[in-house]
């Protein structure tokens, strides 16, 4: 942060949070007990649907090693599409295919960047970066765009009015808008015209105690292993261990959003 006046006033946020905390303790001591009880087991056990509220004992994130990301490979993108029913979208009749190509909802995009000076080419998957300070949440007029306690930034589509401010605010172009009626959908991925959506770190897998995301699994299965998913707050997690060893960066780190998705080799 070069310009101190632009820094986020963490002290004020902290104050608000602790003030809220005090209120919680005095109004409902049960809540505090609840949190303590969760501390022992922050996540659901494998294969068991989650029965207790998510807590901030964990913060989910990813490390993407771009040196392992292969040019032309789209395994992560198609795995994400299949997992989240994005492959069930159909082009509306009579639509312009070029327009549809840009409008079709997509949670991961493969991006190729070239350093013009050195000619070095980098491939990387780009998805919601799950910021600690998400601009999409700041601008949302209805509270639909929110950050779950475990750090997952997502859209409550029951509250979303489709204004698309969040899409404009996102520095990563990570969000999509559903432009047309969706005929076929998966039970786990409801989807309909008029709402914004983006990567939710396979939230259904999180709530069922599974280890990884569809994209990370697919990348490993394709033999690249460029995507590592895990808990940023657990120092023993493979993710934290890798982050401690590999030099990594946040994309657009100048925005000080403290992203949950980090990139190595960029």
């Amino acid at each position: 942060m070069n310009n101190p006046s632009e820094a986020i006033d963490q002290g004020r946020r902290g104050f608000m949070r602790s003030a809220a905390g005090v209120a919680t303790v005095t109004l409902a001591p049960g809540v505090l007990l609840h949190t303590l009880a969760n501390a022992a087991s922050p996540g659901p056990t494998a294969g068991e649907p989650r029965a207790v509220q998510v807590t901030d004992q964990v913060r989910y994130g990813m490390l993407i090693d771009t040196t392992k990301c292969a040019e032309g490979c789209t395994a992560c993108v198609s795995a994400c599409d299949r997992e989240n029913g994005l492959d069930l979208q159909t082009m509306p009749e009579g639509a312009d295919p070029a327009l549809w190509d840009r409008q079709e909802a997509r949670w991961i995009r493969k991006v190729k960047v070239q350093d013009n000076l050195t000619g070095k080419v980098t491939n990387l998957p780009l998805m919601c970066q799950h910021c600690e300070h998400p601009p999409c949440v700041d601008v949302c007029p209805t509270g639909a765009s929110f950050k779950r306690a475990d750090g997952i930034v997502m859209v409550d589509r029951h509250l979303c009015i489709g204004c698309r401010y969040c899409m404009m605010a996102c520095p990563y172009k990570a969000r999509s808008f559903i432009h047309t009626n969706v005929e076929v959908k998966l039970t786990l991925a409801p989807r309909g015209k008029g709402c914004v959506e983006s990567c939710n770190l396979c939230v259904h897998r999180r709530d069922n105690g599974q280890a990884s995301t569809a994209c990370a699994d697919a990348c490993a299965a394709a033999g690249h292993g460029a995507i590592l998913f895990g808990d940023l707050k657990d120092p023993a997690s493979p993710l934290s261990q890798a982050l401690a060893k590999l030099p990594s960066r946040q994309l657009r780190e100048n925005l000080a959003l403290n992203t949950g998705v980090r990139y190595a080799g960029v």
């Binding site: 659901p44 998966l186 039970t187 989807r191 709402c195 709530d207």
Partner: protein
């Protein structure tokens, strides 16, 4: 004034409820579709009377619990309602629950209620509660390996 309005609303709602209850009793049968899982079960997730009047509150509560707090273990999930109440058509394929002769659809048609939930939510169990890649234990009332919707790449490719 506000109280008067609210009370007025209650009376109308109460009337609608009473009429509905009467209609159900007069019919001698209920809205449960023969051939659905529910037709084989003894009871709903809550007492039937309570469900008739309050199912919307139950689902909406579950909605916030799931989306914001990640709670997916409870029996009140919308996916669960659909899995248990969906009927099989002659071809063995599940019939959308919101069709106007099916469970949710028939009663809402009768009561002149219109929902937008099914603009987004699947009307038949599709892909299982954990989806294509998931494959862990299914939620209560959801048959393991529920078929994917027709046209889903996994149904055709594999």
């Amino acid at each position: 004034m506000a109280t008067a309005l609210v009370t007025g609303g209650r009376v109308i709602l109460g009337l609608a409820g009473a009429l509905l209850a009467l209609a159900v009793q007069a019919g001698g049968s209920n809205f449960v579709i023969p051939g659905s899982q529910a037709a084989k079960e003894q009871r709903c997730v809550e007492p039937t009377d309570f469900m008739r009047r309050n199912h919307m509150e139950v689902i909406k509560h579950q909605r916030d619990a799931t989306v914001h707090d990640g709670i997916r273990s409870t029996k009140h999930s919308l996916a669960g309602c659909i899995a248990c109440h969906v009927a099989q058509g002659p071809s063995g394929h599940p019939v959308p629950v919101n069709d106007d002769r099916q469970f949710c659809g028939a009663c809402h048609e009768f009561a002149a209620v219109r929902l937008n939930c099914f603009d987004c939510h699947a009307t038949v169990p599709a892909g299982g509660p954990l989806g294509p890649g998931g494959g862990a234990a299914p939620a209560p009332g959801v048959a393991p390996g529920t078929p994917l919707p027709p046209g889903h790449p996994q149904t055709t490719v594999r």
